[in-house]
């Protein structure tokens, strides 16, 4: 990238986050999660590890869940990103997944929660025909939680499925 005087500058990334457009200069090595947390001040997405295991950093990029610690910011150029901050409606109404997490006590310390909720939404979206408890447990392989023991997270996701697909869950 060059500036108008011909000198070299950092790469620039343009993306939409939670419906708002941003254009930012970033170092090439900047991770998407660093851009979100430090560049855009969206600290809801968390960093819990350095080996891409824990899933605390999961966001949606162009509608699919993705570990933002494992993507460079420049790779998100032109993308539509949704973070945990962008889930609730403008009037504050919670997304059904957020509601069900609260209803079923699916969070304790809250640190894994943003990534867990984003992964859960994608999991439900990908299973319009139905989602068994077994499928939920395996679908959460990429998200670690140390507090809850996962039991209530699974319940919350199962409860969110009919709310998100607008129909009654067929018995698996």
């Amino acid at each position: 990238m060059r500036d108008r005087n011909g000198g070299s500058t950092m790469p620039q990334v343009s993306l939409t986050v939670n419906g708002k457009s941003y254009t930012k200069d970033v170092e090439a090595r900047t991770l998407l999660v660093e851009l979100l947390r430090e560049g855009l001040g969206l600290t809801g997405t968390h960093v819990g590890c350095d080996t891409s295991q824990c899933g605390a950093c999961v966001v949606h990029v162009d509608g699919k869940s993705l570990k933002s610690c494992t993507m460079l910011a420049v790779q998100a150029n032109g993308a539509k990103v949704t973070t945990i901050e962008g889930l609730a409606a403008p009037d504050g109404t919670l997304h059904p997944m957020q509601e069900m997490f609260r209803e079923h006590h699916a969070l304790q310390c809250g640190f894994c929660t943003p990534g867990m909720v984003m992964s859960a939404i994608d999991l439900v979206n990908l299973h319009p025909q139905g989602l068994t408890e077994e499928e939920i447990r395996h679908g959460l392989e990429g998200n670690l939680c140390r507090c809850t023991g996962y039991h209530n997270i699974v319940k919350a996701i199962a409860a969110a499925w009919p709310l998100m697909h607008g129909k009654v869950q067929q018995a698996a």
Binding site: H105, Q108, G110, N143, L144, Y150
Partner: protein, 794 residues
């Protein structure tokens, strides 16, 4: 609004911000003008630290300062203090070598902090840290306790000969020896308790700040107990008087004990902030956490039980070697002594017990309390021993336990190892658990699994634990250097809403909701009108924080006492306003009533009168409605219960699946059953993790092999059984006003032996008497490969 008081499954108030990404964790906080600190750590387990050349690092882009141990020494910075002094058998105090904030002259574990680089960005600090030139002279290392106490082992500290921290004991050796001499059976078991990394999902972080105009220091830190940090760091490390030091523990993403301790990084950022007049921010990487957060467990024990012909336990003898790591962490010495050996009666009437504990320094990360802290170690020992006794004597493993249970009418029950239990009913939790777990029908499930080529086993653990820590004078006499009371300041505002300032800290436990429920219950104030404030020494009187399942038993009791004072004062105000005698005033459901009449005043009317004292007994009573209570518990509390685990082993792979888990726990008074279930479920996951997959491994040279989530197996959602049942059968604590015993740790305490007992049961045709944790697929597969199964004689 439905019922919100004690017993209601109220949904949590704090969830809103956590679910919306508006939590305020330490790494989320950014102070104007802040600089970033990166720590360079030793990459070798034991070496002389000869030279740290900071020149290249200091000249790197964006670098503001580089500091080493020499800089801290020059400024008279103290070592990281230990909060508990254990004495040896001969009465002499334990070895207490200095724990420097930054290494000087020697590094003693992989991860030992050597230097700190401070730069404008974190990336600049990281880059510069790699430019530090460090000369080490490697020394031989000892990573296990057995290696460290062997003759000729490398000495870690000049003032800890033989790498021994202490050689401690409890109980009656003579009585135990005598019982062994006469016993029909002497059952011996060697067992380990595997070393674990707590791995709260939020890595540790700290921000130090200094305001030169006021001379005030502020530390933001991922801590379970900010006042304790203020005291330890202020008094012993940085010599900052407490009134000039504020410690804030904001939202904290899990602790499990690992965030109790005062860590070097807290002192480093605070000290550096004072030097540079800038906020200094440090956040750990996960692999950095693996080599700097305190690890847990790591016991090597021999247990022997003397058993009478009829199966009654006559005496228990235990010898344990435990690992302190390279330096003493804040509570480390008390975990394998007063939180472990005093639990060796369990729920049994064993009349004579003698335990010896040797604590050893090794070239590993310091070891300290991790969920359960000593009680999982005691429970694993006892409950494995139960099944081994059953195996060796032929007595049924359930009947053996039942036969030795402390009877229902024996409370208060004085154990031979100092503790006196106030209440408990081990028979009921056992019976309910057996029923809920389908114990009686298990043989049919085992046979069905065998037809599919699987090995199915069932195991049980009947445990007791001691928590609600603790009576200050008792722990003081045992070497604690702090009190263990708790504080609550209950402030009723003029218009009737309430703020509770608590010394307890919530890092997942839901206190903002459950403590509000206590106020709803006792003062009749809806929880929407109650705010619970925790984690800031600038706002809250001195409290000891949250660990050891103490928040409700001790912190909640302090709240009850403070609210008692509120009600007492309110009655005097109400009596004045309603022109009645204070003895005729009753308080119920938020109203002060003149007995036998319909004259009443709401709490909000009373509080307004208190703050606008025009019609008020001003000669006898001060204005205001704001009371503080410090509560020092009279005893520990004693939750207990029964856990039943059912596993299925795949013979081809050795993998162990937990197919059912049933927990029936006695935790005293339940405030919020939803929170209680969540605590038990979370604890069970950690217990299953310890039993089947978690292990912090060092190689023979002291290198940390399991240094990230790639190698350290954390339990995931599919490791937790679909068939998970959690229930309570409660007996009340007799000595605190709530009757609560605490529930935070029971899940992690009772479960590991239930899992291993099930695995051993599944392998019963393979001649397995014992196996240590974790029961990994490789371990199980090897057992299956190398043992010929006996044909089942059924």
């Amino acid at each position: 609004m439905g019922f919100e008081g004690i017993g209601a499954a109220v949904r949590r108030k704090e969830d809103r911000r956590f679910l919306s990404g508006r939590g305020n964790y330490t790494d989320d906080i950014n102070r104007p003008g802040q600089l970033h600190a990166v720590i360079r750590r030793s990459d070798r387990p034991h070496a002389r630290l000869l030279r740290v050349d900071t020149a290249a690092a200091a000249a790197a882009p964006g670098v503001v300062a580089v500091y080493t141990g020499a800089d801290l020494d020059a400024d008279n910075v103290g070592g990281v203090p230990c909060g508990w002094q254990i004495h040896n058998k001969d009465g002499s105090p334990m070895a207490e070598p200095k724990h420097p904030v930054l290494a000087v002259g020697r590094v003693r574990h992989v991860g030992d902090p050597v230097a700190v680089v401070i730069a404008e960005t974190r990336q600049q600090a990281k880059n510069a840290a790699e430019l530090l030139e460090i000369d080490y002279e490697d020394l031989p290392a000892a990573a296990t306790v057995r290696d460290a106490i062997a003759p000729g082992a490398p000495a870690l500290h000049d003032d800890a000969p033989g790498n021994l921290c202490y050689d401690w004991h409890i109980g009656d050796a003579a009585a135990v020896d005598q019982a062994f001499a006469q016993a029909k059976w002497r059952v011996k078991l060697d067992l380990l308790n595997n070393r674990l990394v707590p791995n709260a999902m939020e890595p540790r972080a700290a921000i130090g700040d200094f305001d030169p105009s006021s001379g005030d220091f502020t530390l933001y830190t991922t801590s379970q107990n900010p006042h304790v940090i203020r005291l330890l760091m202020g008094a012993f490390v940085l010599h900052i008087p407490e009134h000039k030091l504020r410690v804030v523990a904001p939202d904290v993403g899990g602790g499990f004990g690992s965030k109790i301790y005062h860590y070097a990084e807290e002192a480093i950022v605070t000290w550096a902030a004072g030097k540079l007049n800038k906020p200094i921010k440090w956040t750990a990487d996960r692999s950095e956490s693996f080599m700097s957060d305190a690890h847990g467990r790591d016991h090597d024990s021999t247990a022997e039980m003397a058993v009478a012909e009829d199966g009654k336990f006559l005496a228990l003898r235990v010898r344990t070697l435990c690992n302190m790591g390279a330096y003493l962490s804040t509570f480390a010495p008390c975990v394998p002594t007063y939180l472990y050996a005093t639990l060796l009666a369990g729920c049994y009437t064993t009349p004579a017990i003698y335990a010896e504990v040797k604590a050893v320094f090794t070239n590993t990360v310091p070891v300290d309390a991790y969920r359960g802290a000593g009680r999982p170690e005691a429970t694993f020992l006892l409950e494995r021993l139960m099944d081994v006794i059953a195996h060796d004597t032929g007595i049924d493993r359930v009947e053996l336990r039942r036969k030795n249970f402390i009877p229902r009418d024996a409370f208060p029950y004085q154990t031979p190892v100092a503790l006196q239990y106030d209440s408990g009913d081990y028979f009921t939790t056992l019976d309910v658990a057996l029923k809920d777990a389908g114990w009686a029908d298990f043989p049919a499930r085992r046979a069905e699994a065998a037809r599919k080529g699987k090995l199915r086993g069932i195991g049980i653990s009947t445990y007791l634990e001691a928590c609600g820590i603790a009576p200050s004078a008792v722990v003081g006499s045992l070497g604690a250097r702090a009190g263990l009371y708790e504080v609550a300041n209950v402030r009723v505002h003029p218009t009737g809403s309430v703020t509770v300032f608590t010394g307890a800290h919530s890092h997942g436990q839901g206190h903002e909701t459950t403590f509000a429920q206590l106020v709803a219950d006792q003062l009749g104030v809806p929880i929407a009108n109650v705010d619970v404030v925790h984690g800031d020494t600038g706002k809250i009187p001195f409290g000891m924080g949250t660990y050891g399942s103490r928040s409700l038993a001790v912190g909640g009791s302090a709240m009850v006492k403070a609210m008692d004072k509120i009600v007492a004062k309110g009655k005097r105000i109400a009596a004045h306003l309603m022109e009645a005698s204070v003895n005729d005033i009753e308080f119920k459901d938020g109203k002060f009533t003149v007995a036998g009449t319909d004259k009443s005043k709401a709490l909000a009317e009373i509080s307004l009168a208190a703050y606008v004292p025009h019609n008020y007994p001003i000669e006898e009573l001060e204005p205001g409605l704001d009371e503080t209570a410090f509560y020092d518990p009279k005893n520990f509390t004693y939750p207990g219960g029964c856990h039943v685990c059912e596993v299925e082993i795949d013979r081809e792979t050795g993998s162990v699946e937990v197919v059912r888990f049933t927990a029936v726990d006695d935790i005293g008074r339940v405030i919020n059953p939803m929170i209680v279930e969540g605590q038990v479920q979370g604890g069970l996951a950690q217990g299953i993790g310890q039993a089947l997959m978690e292990n912090a491994v060092y190689d023979g040279q002291g290198q940390l092999v399991t240094g990230s989530f790639m190698d350290y197996t954390m339990p995931r959602a599919h490791d937790i059984p679909l068939g998970l049942k959690v229930a309570t059968e409660n007996t009340m604590c007799t000595h605190n006003p709530l009757g609560s015993k605490g529930v935070g740790e029971v899940g992690a305490i009772g479960s590991p032996p239930a899992v291993i007992n099930a695995v051993v049961d599944a392998l019963r045709d393979y001649g397995v008497r014992h196996l240590d944790m974790p029961a990994t697929p490789q371990k199980i597969w090897s057992i299956i490969q190398s043992n010929t199964p006996r044909m089942a004689a059924e």
